[in-house]
């Protein structure tokens, strides 16, 4: 660990803190329909969209209709992406003819299961990459089928969070807002303007933005090297801002074209947290007490700083087996320009949020260094979290926290002046348990599954010569406890809609594409529905006046309790699984054991 390494972390957090309030105020104004500096430009476009699509701005939807709108929108965009991916050979902007029989030898086919997995992945804001962009996706697929979801799924996430906040803030109301209006405003006022500015900065730093065929270079020592192109900068900007994480290339944000300099790396990290942090302040304004927002922010910050400290410490300390021959910490799977501090900070941020972009390979982290990203996702990504998703996830924990506090003192719990009753607690627990069942269920299944006959279809690992694994777990890239960690991380990432990976595992086979695709859909939609039910039920309630018996939720005590609840729920659910993976591997590594 170095002083300058810590300085990067401190400056990052300071800037985040400084941007939270202006961002929060801006978003509050946008979603309340108040004028902002963008109104003169965007308002005419916004009105045109409503007119073209037949949306009535004043149509206040109850939670059920809001949910239906969100689900229909997700289904439509999912099908559209599936169709584009399957037909990319017949669509424009495909100079390398990927997906057709004229594709170069290094091209990879877009099979139905891969297209389903990718469509589910982008619809759910997961952006899990079972594909390698540079040899599978045309520029058109990247731009229209994938980057569009980066906007849509992010805007939908923000919309749901705003609806949830309205549910908590409104009293005796039936509606939680209009999904189409929230979706449009999130896109036009929040995501798009920031993306334009950031994308141009990225190009200046070296990110490509072109549509030409791949170049073949003759290297200095005389071999041929194929250099890809693509609309990289425009996609990178929304990839981070929308906490999506699906990159143009297989190596994601470690690829020098996706993240050319430490400065772009810093901007990427900042934009991952920008909206997730700001929306917590928006929540504070909406409920009429910004301290409520800061209490949540403090809980998130504590968990974030704890994670980055452990991760940086472990990676800088490195792997004793490698330290015997080399100096400089664990640089396996890390880029020289980022080094250990910028890599571990990125790994922590991308898994706190549901981003899942990676600038280093988490699979090659030390056991406890790699446990940090894994555990961050296991919390349900409530540490700033995905745009919108982080806030509604954390508010679910807040409801559990006041419930637990209420049990301790024997009073009916209240949150933000509303009584928290059996229905809300049941729904919060339901959301919580669905995630646990999704992660652990699919992990267990994949550890023992013998792929049904014919295995040649269900689990053929591409590559030469093609090999067939009858056991799904044979697709792991590592043996011993690390192999188990790869499987656990896979379903952790899928359920949490994160998209990062212990990427050694070969997941582009029908068995894995389907199970992971289903896990992503469960993790997104079966969590959102109970939460919107809470929002609808809370909106209807009357406000009870604050009394001496009210447990205050805007102070350090509550923030501490919230951190405690997140850790206890996470540890109770996942400790046995984590002990079998990273924890046991840590001790084996210290003993010099290899597999």
């Amino acid at each position: 660990m170095t002083l300058i390494g810590w300085l990067q972390i401190v400056v990052f957090f300071g800037l985040l803190l400084a941007l939270t309030k202006p961002m929060g105020i801006f978003m509050h104004r946008v979603f309340e329909g108040e004028p902002t500096f963008l109104t003169p430009v965007m308002r005419p476009i916004e009105k045109l969209i409503y007119r073209l699509c037949g949306v009535r701005e004043d149509d206040d939807m109850p939670w059920t209709r809001y949910t239906v709108a969100m689900l229909f929108f997700s289904i439509v965009t999912l099908l559209l992406t599936y169709a584009i991916l399957r037909w990319q050979a017949y669509l424009p902007l495909n100079p390398m003819r990927l997906g057709s029989d004229k594709a170069p030898g290094w091209g990879t086919a877009m099979t139905p299961d891969l297209a389903f997995n990718t469509a589910a992945s982008f619809t759910t804001n997961t952006n899990w990459q079972a594909y390698s962009g540079e040899n599978t996706m045309s520029y058109f697929s990247q731009m229209v089928a994938l980057a569009s979801h980066n906007f849509f799924s992010a805007a939908a996430g923000i919309a749901i969070a705003i609806a949830f906040v309205r549910g908590l803030a409104r009293k005796s109301a039936t509606g939680v807002g209009n999904f189409w209006v929230d979706l449009t405003r999130a896109t036009l006022y929040v995501l798009l303007p920031l993306c334009i500015v950031i994308a141009l900065v990225y190009v200046q730093q070296g990110m490509p933005q072109n549509f030409h065929a791949y170049h073949t270079a003759q290297t200095v020592e005389g071999s041929a090297q194929i250099i890809p192109g693509g609309p990289v900068a425009s996609q990178e900007a929304i990839k981070m801002l929308g906490t999506n994480g699906g990159g143009i290339f297989n190596a994601n944000s470690s690829h020098p074209f996706e993240n050319p300099t430490p400065l772009t790396n810093f901007i990427q990290m900042l934009t991952i947290f920008l909206i997730g942090g700001g929306i917590v302040y928006t929540f504070g304004i909406a409920v009429g007490n910004v301290r409520q927002g800061w209490a949540i922010f403090a809980a998130m910050s504590a968990l974030f700083l704890l994670g980055v400290a452990v991760c940086y410490w472990q990676e800088a300390k490195g792997n004793p087996i490698i330290n015997a021959v080399a100096t400089g910490g664990n640089m396996e799977g890390k880029e020289a320009r980022f080094g250990i501090a910028s890599s571990t900070l990125f790994a922590t941020i991308t898994t706190d949020a549901s981003c899942g972009a990676v600038n280093s390979m988490h699979d090659s982290y030390t056991p406890l260094g790699g446990l940090v990203p894994m555990a961050n996702i296991l919390t349900g990504e409530v540490i700033f979290g995905g745009v919108g998703a982080g806030l509604y996830g954390m508010l679910m924990y807040a409801i559990l926290a006041v419930f637990i506090a209420g049990l301790m003192v024997g009073r009916t719990p209240e949150y933000l002046g509303k009584k928290v009753e059996a229905f809300e607690v049941k729904m919060a627990m339901l959301a919580c348990l669905i995630l646990v069942a999704d992660v652990l269920g699919f992990t267990a299944l994949s550890c023992v599954t013998h792929v049904p006959h014919p295995a040649t279809y269900w689990n053929t690992v591409s590559g030469t010569p093609p090999s067939v694994n009858a056991l799904a777990s044979a697709n792991t890239n590592n043996s011993g406890p690390h192999g188990f960690s790869e499987i656990l991380y896979t379903f952790d990432s899928a359920t949490g809609n994160n998209g990062s990976a212990f990427a050694g595992i070969s997941v582009n086979t029908p068995y894995w594409n389907l199970t992971i695709g289903i896990a992503m859909l469960i993790g997104r939609f079966l969590m959102i529905i109970p939460l919107l039910a809470i929002a609808g039920s809370m909106a209807k309630k009357k406000r009870v006046p604050v009394s001496s018996g009210t447990f205050p939720t805007d102070n350090a005590l509550f923030a501490g309790l919230l951190v405690g609840v997140v850790i206890i729920v996470g540890a109770l659910s996942y400790f046995p699984a984590v002990a079998l993976g990273p924890v046991v591997e840590h001790f084996l590594m210290l003993g010099g054991k290899t597999f």
Binding site: C53, G54, G206, V220, L263, V325, N478
Partner: protein
């Protein structure tokens, strides 16, 4: 209920035009006009106009007169159609000790793999280090992308003596060249100081050509 479906389809199409059409094309238009070098991949061309590579994408160097990049897991090494790290974990025997098998016909198995210990031994031999010397870690570990264009300054310094000998010049001249081509941290505190391997090797050929009568790479 089903009017929501109609709205979904309409709004998807309208927003697609904006976020997948106007937005990337606007960024493309502006950057192609204002920043064409970066927007087209930071390509390096020889004086004849042939593409030698990209400053952002690492390429393989094995000759003693050039600085060597980090080992790479992208395809058979620095293959940008297969960007990837090893994804081997800390207790992987393959990562540490490598895989060295012979096929039935006595030839090396094409799936053989050099572990960290093999890479360290080779690096020590190449650069004349003692058999127990600890080497800069970036020289024996593979990067995340497999396309890392940079090496650490320590790694470049260790290689300077070998490069100087191959080019018949003294180490201090090569060290000066390293210092001249090295990048500091961005804004003074972000990332790590580093040497771009392609840039430093092109500078080497420029300033300390192997043989003055030889044609420099790409020169006519």
């Amino acid at each position: 209920m089903f009017n929501q479906l109609g709205t979904s389809i309409k709004i998807t199409l309208v927003l697609l035009v904006i976020v997948s059409g106007i937005y990337p094309l606007a960024v493309w238009g502006v950057s192609q006009v204002l920043l064409p070098r970066q927007a087209n991949g930071s390509l390096v061309k020889s004086s004849s106009g042939a593409i030698v590579g990209s400053t952002l994408i690492g390429q393989g160097f094995t000759k003693p007169e050039y600085f060597h990049p980090r080992p790479s897991a992208a395809g058979s090494g620095y293959d940008p159609t297969q960007s990837s790290g090893t994804n081997l974990g800390p207790t992987s025997d393959k990562l540490i000790n490598g895989v060295h098998k012979k096929l039935a016909n006595g030839k090396d198995d094409p799936n053989n793999f050099d572990g960290v210990k093999d890479l360290a031994a080779a690096y020590r031999t190449e650069n004349g280090l003692s058999a127990t010397a600890r080497v800069p870690v970036d020289a024996v570990t593979r990067s995340a992308s497999g396309l890392d264009p940079d090496i650490s300054i320590e790694n470049a310094r260790v290689q300077a003596a070998r490069v100087a000998k191959a080019r018949n010049t003294d180490v201090s001249a090569i060290t000066r060249l390293i210092d001249k081509t090295a990048h500091g941290r961005d804004l003074g505190f972000l990332g790590e100081p580093r040497v771009n391997v392609l840039s430093v090797n092109l500078a080497l050929d420029q300033e300390y050509p192997l043989n003055k009568s030889l044609v420099k790479p790409g020169a006519k």
